[in-house]
Amino acid sequence: MAATPTGDVDVDSEAVSASIVGASGFAGGELLRLLAGHPEFELSQATSREYAGKSVGSVHPPLRGTDLRFSQPGDLESVDVLFTATPHGVTMEHIDEYQDAAELVVDLSADFRLDTEAQYDEWYDGHSCPGKLDVAQYALPEVNRENLAGADVIASGGCNATATILGLYPLAEAGILDGADVVVDVKVGSSEGGAGGGAASSHAERSGVVRPYAPTGHRHEAEIEQWLGTSVSFTCHAVDMVRGASATCHVFPDGPVSNGDLWGAYRGEYDDEPFVRMQAGGSGTYRYPEPKAVAGTNHAEVGFELDASNERIVVFSAIDNVVKGSAGQAVHAANVALGFEETAGLEFAGLHPVGSP
């Protein structure tokens, strides 16, 4: 039963070893899946306190048939790269231990995304290891590719922040956001909440919702502002899908902007990006970015439409929150940092038809 792909690189002799802390969670499970199919990495350990001793496939069906079993996070062995997919606060507490174990730590939590302690004081509950903040590099290659090589700590972006930044970055670079008012209205799936599950996230309560959460003051505003250089009015809604984050950005620029300006800005930024796809108009069922068209993949879809009468640009951006918005972004950044093919391990192109993946 060959449940997982094997690449053509000689894995045994020159593979880069990698372990995952928090491998029983949703983001950690994706890391397992992506690294198991990656031609350059060899999986070493996958931790879970709750499932230690069980096979990784008992929690994550795509991994069935692999012999790897969860180990305790306290039993970490040395590896080349350590991916950490733990809740906010864990990595900042254990960063020294993690860096002892691996030359490169790729963290999926918010712990090293922001530049300064002051931001953590404002948006989170402070930071327990602020001295390491300037060592860390933000993972998203589309905005930070040039700083990833040689990084010691890479901080994978927030999923809502990733969707928003990818949607608006070309406008920021083109100066179109200068003085602009920006509203970001996000819709996300249930996997964003992680593998826990209380009464409110039960199937009966969570099905069929369009449920506002974090109407104002969402923490990802900090990351977005850091990368776009402007503040945004941000509101999030839970909708009935498992994977997916979709950001609709309503941008009111300071002066007139033409369709040509916009295509120039977007194509200039994204034409050579392996994981960003423009989707703006056209015909048929899929005309604008939508999350189910990228579910399971590391792709982002980005598109826009000009609203001349309201002097508005509507930008749509859609990603899979646990891939491009988390584990896939982390692997992509590691590929860049280690000099691998950027798309290595991230080639899956998605499914059609597909329901609510």
Partner: protein
Amino acid sequence: MTTCTECGADVALHDDAEAGEIVDCTTCGAELEVIDVSPPVLEKAPELEEDWGE
């Protein structure tokens, strides 16, 4: 009968309400802490984190 500190609507307290109890305003949904019972005084209760994450 007392008044919701959030929206100003009337809030009916049951007879044996006690200080410290949390009631919700049936007009706006706010959670209110009973600070005193005679006369009744309410205060907005500290907000609970939504437990379905981000």
